[in-house]
Amino acid sequence: MSWEKNGRDEKLVIWRDNMEVDKFIYSAGIAGSTFIEGLARKKLVGSRCPVCGRVFLPPSSYCEYDFAETVPYEINEDPFIELVITINYDDEGELLKDPVKIGLARFKGVTGGLLVRVEGDLKSGSTAKIKEWKWPLTVG
């Protein structure tokens, strides 16, 4: 008994194929739809748990701490940009002509946060304003 010893690369066949699904269409879901409608009105709509009082952003239909159903809750705070990073390469490894700046936006009294685009020379640890309400949000 033996394994075949003639495993030469040229004799091995490589078969090429691709991902079969043309595209995915995701439902934004219950809370997600409320959030997106809020953006159209230039409002940030999170969700609030009636049991623990936590406010979630992005909103969730339920509180993961209490499993209770949440209610929509408008957030009127300005975003606090905890962290700004600069991206120099695209996802294929090519150098970007114009580097892209991404920020982690937190809001006072809110659990969670949003990833946003940053314009200008905003530094980590500063308050910002929402400049564009198109998703993803842009702050400056």
């Binding site: 066949v13 090429r16 194929d17 269409i25 995701y26 439902s27 949440t70 209610v71």
Partner: protein, 174 residues
């Protein structure tokens, strides 16, 4: 601000409709599969109009498509054997839906063919079986008469080392 998220507890329609927000994404995954030792030799054999299998000397099973290890004995298989191009139809189907989900006028017929091998196996539950096209007419499939018929490989004139080098299996007229 109070209110509630719409439609959780049967408050709204459960079936997704046009006005519920939807987000699209196009994936871009491509794959390159390595055929491996056994399948490579099998495919290159098809190019030469030969069907190769692997023999386990311990239990006498012949694997087509070939496997480098025996499932029953859990040991490497021993040698390459050339296998018959004749077989018996185990089962057959007729599809009216194409790969692209279009309706077909004439059905494509395919099935499983149990290949004839020089040795018989101990159990009738497992055998060297190939999934492939069968050149038959729809009536033979519908009344199940195609099952049990003896068939033979018809080769493609152009062969490249692919399972499609076999064009189809066709009934042997004695």
């Amino acid at each position: 601000m109070g209110g509630s998220h719409a439609g959780i507890n049967g408050g709204g329609p459960q079936e997704l409709s046009g006005n519920m927000t939807q987000i699209e994404y196009v994936p871009a995954a491509k794959y390159s599969y390595a055929a491996g030792q056994a399948t490579s030799k099998f495919l290159l054999g098809l190019k030469e109009k030969k069907v190769y299998g692997r023999l386990c000397k311990k239990c006498g099973r012949i694997y087509v498509p070939p496997k480098m290890y025996c499932e029953e004995c859990f040991r490497p298989t021993d040698e390459w054997v050339e296998v018959s191009q004749y077989g018996i139809v185990q089962t057959a189907i007729a599809t009216f839906v194409s790969w692209k989900r279009e309706r077909l006028e004439t059905p494509i017929i395919a099935g499983i063919i149990r290949l004839e091998t020089p040795r018989e196996f101990g159990d009738s539950y497992t055998f060297p079986g190939i999934f492939h096209f069968i050149n038959a007419n729809y009536d033979e499939v519908k009344d199940l008469s195609i099952i049990g018929k003896r068939v033979k490989i018809v080769w493609n004139d152009e062969r490249v080392g692919s399972i499609l080098d076999i064009k189809y299996f066709e009934e042997v007229k004695e």
